[in-house]
Symmetry: C2
Amino acid sequence: MDRLPLLLDRVTNLLREDLREVATNHGLKLVQLDALRYLCTANRFSDTLTALVAWLGATKGSVSQTVKALERKGLVTRVRDDGDGRVVHLRPTAEGRALAAAASPAPALEGAPTDASTADALDGLLRALLAARGGVAFGVCRTCRFHEARAGGRHCGLLDVPLGEAQADRVCVEHAAQ
Amino acid sequence: MDRLPLLLDRVTNLLREDLREVATNHGLKLVQLDALRYLCTANRFSDTLTALVAWLGATKGSVSQTVKALERKGLVTRVRDDGDGRVVHLRPTAEGRALAAAASPAPALEGAPTDASTADALDGLLRALLAARGGVAFGVCRTCRFHEARAGGRHCGLLDVPLGEAQADRVCVEHAAQ
DNA sequence: GGCTGATGGTTTCGACTCAAAACTATATGG
DNA sequence: CCATATAGTTTTGAGTCGAAACCATCAGCC
């Protein structure tokens, strides 16, 4: 009895349904809210179009349009990089940040279980998903969105594991290249 | 440290990215594949437009368009109900079933953990999500998509719990009304 | 029977998404 | 300096999305 795909399907749908409603309540499409939320947590390495493309899993042409829509709504501004003339940083405006803050987390998750076992299970699932896509090398850990330089040493904020100083420059399986 | 929303976001995105690729490989949009997969598991109560709308979480106008696209591609046919002249049953064609079978489960889930604890965690999550939406009464259990009349008694196939004979006519929290 | 309302679907509209492909501009490496 | 890679934009055509208007059919009720 393999309930996993079924459960995952259902959870995903409910979550998206919920977020979609939040988005439309704020006059946005779901993808636009997704993008805005990501950009609000992105640092100077991960606030580019390419990173957003990787995160959302769509094509760059498509994402470029979405960003244009966000810009038109005054939620995001484009800032050319000083060093590299090709890259453009996508900075949420104050209004954009306010909207993202108001729109997350998903209301449906308010009462969600906060116990460690649930997170652990998702952890395992995430690792499996990443492994299934061939453990694609997508970026150096030190430049990853989830890389944290803590007091006790470097840390991966997504998988919640400590990292040796040496690993910080290794390629990271998680592709939220930053 | 609340990693749950973050993990859920990531898992959802990866899963969708994966499914989207599968869909485009078969010349479909992601939503179309979602709809087709649902219809392939639906019985005579749940193969209607309204049920599909509830499952996908979009508006009926939108879903009607999607179904039209599937019909145009020869993957689904419309069949008027005998008893109720208003309802239309959406039956996947042989070709539609073949495509859905070839396209699922998501390749990324192939190597996913099959242990019970992962499923249990998702189970809890699903219950929380359903509770958060106010435990909406969406249909009588007996007419639910996941209702099963087993040898040992009635059974809910989604939450994997046995049901008393009396409960079968109670309102079900899960809204996949069938 | 006939009226009223609810239910199941379809259609139309405008804004937007999507993938693919062509394109521009800026790096980087021999 | 030239070839190639990288970052991003634009265009095009099919399709999604929500909203609102619309058309049937059914169910309750007097």
